[in-house]
Symmetry: C2
Subunit: 254 residues, 2 copies
DNA sequence: TTACACCTTTACGCAACGTGAAGGTCAATT
DNA sequence: AATTGACCTTCACGTTGCGTAAAGGTGTAA
């Protein structure tokens, strides 16, 4: 049986373009070219195409397929095992992705008005991400794997009321902090109250509170421009002031 | 704080090219361009980039991200839910892929010499695939879902000895068939012996044997050029002859 | 012969950048 | 002042696996 591109394409369920492409990249050459320049495929080509399509369905790249089908001595099994590893890696990544998307969706679902939502989301994300990135390792080492997971889960599971509470707390922190900053003394009662409020606010995000972590976070407010910007928005120097207050509050500095 | 491309790139952990690209596709424009044509980014751009990168990490396409970050009223949650669906679809497909690759690997592992292996693999795959494709639905309807699964599993679990037996049987079928074909009578004893041997051979692939299925497969040998080619390789007409013999053997035709 | 379905090659488009190339700018050093 | 080296700029091609015209030749039935 001999086939033209279209015929073979139909037989195999691929497009004619695909066959021309396979010809182009030397993965499947026609048996011969007739006098008009038409590609003519024979039985051997049909079989080979089947093989190609089989590997293609397994998600193997045409490059690897080329090796498998052109070199008869090529270790196809090994190639497949390597391919399998890649697939597993992809799967793991995909699973993580889905978990994250789920988290984010859970976060945004049935909760708050659009305007606040954006801010809230972004901030919580930032919190978790930053916290993870910067202190994740230490925290994991100190408190174990699942503490961190629980902490993240805690943020993600905040309810509407929690959100309102945390938002209110956030404002209180800012207000108290602003008043304290005006006085200029991070050891003052009002500055310590700001630190205390900050701790309460923080406890909405962290399952386990520790003075070390609190102090570390405070330092981060100064070290990371994005946080600094957030606290310094109204009064430059506020982030540093808050850090000092918290360091005193946590007893890290006197 | 103001940043040039490189600075912002470093801060955010992306390449400068990426930032230029984001500028190009109107996803993140610099706050301003200085007198030398340099891109200058500000705090707002940093925040926006964070958002972009967040969605990017979730695997959202830049196109969708554009909608999310440029239109403030755009329903990001809905976009995420849709995205989630896509991810789940991908995951399902990936899982199927991995399962298939696993099957194929299991098939090739620790079994036989290279040269034969190729043939064997290809043929088994063909068997299963073709059988699935052509008779899968009917068989499933008749014998239920798990019969088919068991059958496939059976092929996949063939041992070395099984392989030798099946290979030997395959040769016996071919030989007997060739002798029978020379006589020309599909009802002859020797032709019926070929059909019987073919049945035995088949039983290595099918968990449940049925005359109907056997007869159906025989017909397929004639209908499908690839199988026809296999049987007709030495003597054209052999496939048809085998079908007739099997139809008589199974009592489908007298 | 004329229509119509096929075939051919050439070449741009897709996603999200990586990677030069060619040339201007800035700050520090000689 | 000139040079160096590290920045910056705008093209523009390469990546994967084809889809999709465009422009033109071929085969065959009416």
């Amino acid at each position: 049986m001999e086939y033209t591109v279209q015929k073979l394409a139909q037989l195999a369920g691929v497009s004619a373009r695909t066959l021309r492409y396979y010809d182009e990249i030397d993965i499947l050459k026609p048996a011969r070219i007739n006098s008009s320049g038409y590609r003519i495929y024979g039985q051997a080509e049909v079989d080979r195409l089947q093989q190609i399509l089989f590997y293609r369905e397994l998600g193997v790249g045409l490059d690897s397929i080329k090796n498998i089908v052109t070199a008869p001595s090529f270790d196809g099994a090994k190639a497949l095992r390597e391919h399998r590893e890649k697939l597993l890696e992809k799967k793991k990544q995909l699973d993580r992705l889905i978990a994250n998307v789920d988290k984010t969706i859970a976060l945004t679902e049935g909760r708050m008005k659009m305007s606040d939502k954006e801010k809230f989301e972004g901030f919580k994300r930032k919190m978790i991400d930053e916290n993870e990135e910067k202190y994740g390792k230490e925290i994991r080492e100190k408190y174990g794997e699942d503490t961190v997971e629980k902490s993240n889960a805690k943020v993600m599971n905040m309810s509407q009321e929690d959100y309102e509470k945390v938002t209110s707390l956030e404002m209180q922190v800012k207000e108290t902090l602003s008043q304290a900053f005006a006085l200029g003394d991070p050891a003052s009662d009002i500055a310590q109250k700001a630190a205390e409020l900050h701790k309460q606010w923080l406890c909405f995000y962290w399952k386990e509170y520790s003075k070390d972590a609190h102090a570390g976070l405070a330092q981060m407010y100064v070290d990371d421009e994005r946080f600094t910007a957030y606290y310094d928005k109204e009064q430059p120097g506020t982030a540093e002031f808050l850090r000092d207050a918290i360091h005193i509050y946590t007893g890290m500095k006197k």
